[in-house]
Symmetry: C2
Subunit: 323 residues, 2 copies
Amino acid sequence: MKTVQEAAKQISDAERILIVCHVSPDGDAIGSMLGLGLTLSEAQKRVILCCADPVPSQYRYLPHWETIARSCSERCDLLVTLDCSDLDRLGAVYDPSTLHDVPIVNIDHHTTNVEFGDVNWVEPEAAATAQMLVRLVHGLGISLNADIATCLLTGILTDTLGFRTSATTPEVMETAIQLMKAGASLPELTDRIFGRRPMRTIEMWATTLQNLHLEGHILWTEITQRMRRRIGYQENGDAGLANFLSTANEADIAIIFDEQQDGQVNVSMRCVPGYDVSQVAFDLGGGGHAQAAGCTLSGPLEGARTRVLSMLQKSWSMQNSSR
Amino acid sequence: MKTVQEAAKQISDAERILIVCHVSPDGDAIGSMLGLGLTLSEAQKRVILCCADPVPSQYRYLPHWETIARSCSERCDLLVTLDCSDLDRLGAVYDPSTLHDVPIVNIDHHTTNVEFGDVNWVEPEAAATAQMLVRLVHGLGISLNADIATCLLTGILTDTLGFRTSATTPEVMETAIQLMKAGASLPELTDRIFGRRPMRTIEMWATTLQNLHLEGHILWTEITQRMRRRIGYQENGDAGLANFLSTANEADIAIIFDEQQDGQVNVSMRCVPGYDVSQVAFDLGGGGHAQAAGCTLSGPLEGARTRVLSMLQKSWSMQNSSR
C-alpha cells in the first residue's frame, strides 16, 4: 500500500500536473486519464491531459474527452504516466528536452512495466489501471462523482473484457459497485464498449473468419490493406475479433496480423489461461498482459507473420514442456 | 417479498419435490434447477430434477448435472417450475394425468409469464431466475456452498450475458460477489459459458456472416440444413451469434433463423434497448425478455422467415411511432 500513498503525496505536492497515457489508447488508458484528470481538477490542480494519438471515436462518450491534447508545451512540475509499461509507450508526447527534469509518477498494471518513474506504483495483479486509481481518488480525499466513476468504470470494463478475465476478483466487482453507486451506468457503458460496431466491422469479421489458419495450437488470421480496400474498412482493428478467435477450443493462442496503411503490422495476441503471450510481445518491442498482448512490427506482412509465428510456436512448446 | 416467503413455505412443507425447467434449457434453466436441487437436498428433501431435453454439453461442468432425468414417473407432492413462462415450456415432462392435482410453485423472471401456478413468484425485473433463487436459499435457512454457488452464478452469467444486460443492477453484482465468496469462480465460469466454442462453430459464424441481410432496421441471417451439412456443423445454434449480430450500429433488431433436422425453425431475436421483441415471440408461441426472445415455428424456412420478418417490421414501426 506504500506506493499509493507515495503517489498521492507526490501528486498532492504538485501544482501543474501533466497526465499522459500510451499511444493507440484503449478504454483503460483514456478512462484512467480522464478519471484522474477530473479528480485532480476537483483538488484544484492545474491539469494537462495528453496522448500522442487521437481519442478513438468509440470512447468519445467520456466526459471531457475533447480536453485531451495531442502534445504539450506547457511547463509542468509533475508527470503522471498511466497504463504505460515504458517511456516509449508515451510516443511523441515525451520530449526529453523539456521533460528530463520533471519527476515521474508511473502508475500501471502491466506485468511488462520497466519501472522508469521516480515513484513506480505498478500492480500487475490489478485488473486495470483504473481499478488502482479508485484507491488513489480515495487517497487524495476526493469523492467519486458520476463523471469520474464513468471514466474509471470504462477502464475496468475494457481491461477485464466486461468482468471476464482472470483478474476479476470480488474486489474488482466491489469497486464496480462503488462506481455504479457513484453514478456510472454499467449497462450503458457495456453497450458503448462491447455492444456496438458498424456493419462494416461485421463484414470485416466475415472476411477474416473465411481466412483462418490453425497451425498446431495457434489460430491466426490477417487483415490486409487489400481486404480493407475491398470492403471499405478503414477503422482500427476490432479487439473483439481477437478475443473471439481465442474462444476456439482447438487453439491455445490466437493472433491477428493487421496491416496498416504505412506498411507496419499491428499484432494482437491472445491466449488461454495457463499460457503467456506477454513475453513474446515484449521481446518484439510491445507489451501487455499474460492473456492479451500486442506489438507493432515493420512490414511486409509475410515477414512479420513468419517471425511472430515462429517465436510463439517456440514459446508455446517451452511453456508446454514446463507444465 | 411476500412471494419468496410463500414459495419457501410451500417448499418447506413438501417432502418429495419435482423441479422442472424449460425445454431447450439454457444456463439459467439448468443452473437454477441444479442450484435449487442441491439446496433442497441439504434441507433433507427428496428431490427429482427433470428436463424434457438433454443438458447441453456446454453445461456439463455443473455439479450433478447427470442427475437430471428426461422424464419422471415418481409420485411427488410439489412441482416447482423454474424459468418457465407457461406449462407448455415444460414439454413432455408435464403429464396432466399424473400431475394435475400436484400444487405448482412457479418461479420465473420472464415478462411473458402467464402465472399458471398455485404460487406465482414472478419478477420480470430480476436478471435471472438464479438471481431470485439466492434469496430463496436464504429464505430456506440453507447456507450457500461452492456447488450451489457455481450453479446459481452460471444462471446469472448466462442471462445477463456476463453482466451486460440492462437488468444488471448493483444488487445483481452484490449477489455475484456473494456467490464468488461462497466458492464460485467467476473467471472459470465466464470461460466455460462465453470463452470456448469448437472451430466448427467459428466456421458456422464465418458462413452465416457471409449471408447477412439488412432490411430496414432488421438484420437477419439463417442457418440452413444444407449449410450444416456442408461444414459438418450439428450443434445447437450459438447464442453468441445472435448477440453479436445485435451489435450492428445499423440494426435495431437482429434475428437468426435456424433450420432444424425435422424441418422446424428455431428463431432467435435480439433488439437494442428501447425496443421489445418478446411480444412477437409470445404471439408466435414462444417467449422471453424485451431484448432477447425466441420461438420455434414449423417450416419451411422461407415461410417462417416471411412471417417473422413481417410481424417484426410491423412491431418495429409501431414501437417507433410511439417513441
